[in-house]
Point group: C2
Chain length 225, copies 2
């Protein structure tokens, strides 16, 4: 198993180098890049649809979709008139920086103000792979149960933003929102915690404001205001 | 990356050998072993609780819990008076056969009629790891969306049983049950498809009957009736 670990570490290091190159290039163009991670079915694509409907009036957006199989998610994004590229991992459980590079080479996604990367539905493996993003966003839907942050601590410790999604379903579920937010704060005291429902629209405006503020901050920091 | 693949294949082969040894030993004792796989929060532990409440009157049951972190799930099982061992993977995204061997060595779980293994919450990685089980069960909760079988085809093609869980929430969700069952049948025509709600109890009896029948069939096949 030591050999597995060593080889895997080397592969991770190569991937890290690619991620740093991507990060430099996103800084040059002032593109905000958001890496969205969650379990399957937490509502990543649905949140993206609601986000793009609001943001595309004033901002150029683009999306890279990661899935084991099917073009369904990219099709949903393209239906909104937003450029999207589908990466099919064919069984692999996460996206890596090389795949992002290849996607940017293959599809006309840039220039964009905001590039969203929707990772493969998996709360564990995508956590350790840097894609050159500005920050990771973790989604947790209220249907998944209120014990999840402590059961999957790595992603919630690393994500600068956690979006608690599907809050319209709260009346039908035993879900202790305060307990979840306490777990999140203990894992990552500086992270932003948002509550959203793509069905009712609740929280979507706040989430979009956060994105626009982060974009403006990046542009200021890279001298592209 | 070829080296990663080769080394990983060797590790998988070693794990396969351990799985076959486990399978022989479970055949010797006539223990039915069920490997339960789903996304985080599909209701694996809740289904197990409902199952054990029904089955333990007539059957010796035991549980191995796999999680990245926390003993919460094993504690919930032990609260029912059922022996349970918690495997903490510390970041790893699946269980493997060695961990099952070690768990059986460390905890008094056997003899048992039925051993349930609740895998790490992950719809992708656990699929390829044989734990010596009789069959895999995939859970898909209706809150995860009706596109999931085709988006995560490997597990639904391999699981002999798919349990569609949380069906009490159907009135509050856009979820096309017929479409999901059609996807499941096309991926795995011979698999059993069950619909359950641990909240209302719907479908739990049928699921328990399936387990008891499979146990009886295994005992017949291994001459231990």
């Amino acid at each position: 198993m030591t050999q597995v670990v060593t080889v895997r570490r080397r592969a991770l290091e190569a991937s890290e180098e690619r991620a740093q190159a991507l990060r430099r290039s996103f800084a040059d163009t002032g593109t905000l890049v958001v890496n969205i991670i969650s379990s399957p079915g937490s509502g990543k694509t649905t949140l993206l649809e609601a986000t793009l409907r609001r943001l595309t009036a004033g901002h150029h957006c683009a999306v890279i979709e990661g899935d084991v199989a099917t073009e369904r998610d990219a099709d949903r994004i393209r239906a909104l008139g937003v450029p999207a590229h589908q990466i099919l991992t064919g069984g692999a459980c996460h996206l890596d920086a090389r795949q992002i590079e290849a996607a940017l080479g293959a599809a006309r996604l840039l220039p964009a103000d905001i590039l969203f990367i929707e990772n493969v539905g998996n709360l564990i493996c995508p956590t350790t792979y840097d894609l050159g993003e500005d920050f990771k966003v973790a989604l947790l839907s209220v249907t998944e149960g209120d014990d999840k942050p402590f059961k999957y601590p790595a992603i919630f410790a690393r994500a600068e933003v956690t979006v608690i999604s599907k809050i319209d379903l709260l009346p039908h579920l035993p879900f202790d929102l305060a307990a979840v937010e306490e777990q999140l704060r203990s894992l990552n005291p500086g992270a932003a915690i948002l509550r959203t429902s793509a069905t009712t629209g609740e929280g979507i405006e706040g989430w979009c404001e956060l994105l626009v503020k982060r974009l403006a901050a990046k542009r200021r920091a890279t001298g592209q205001e």
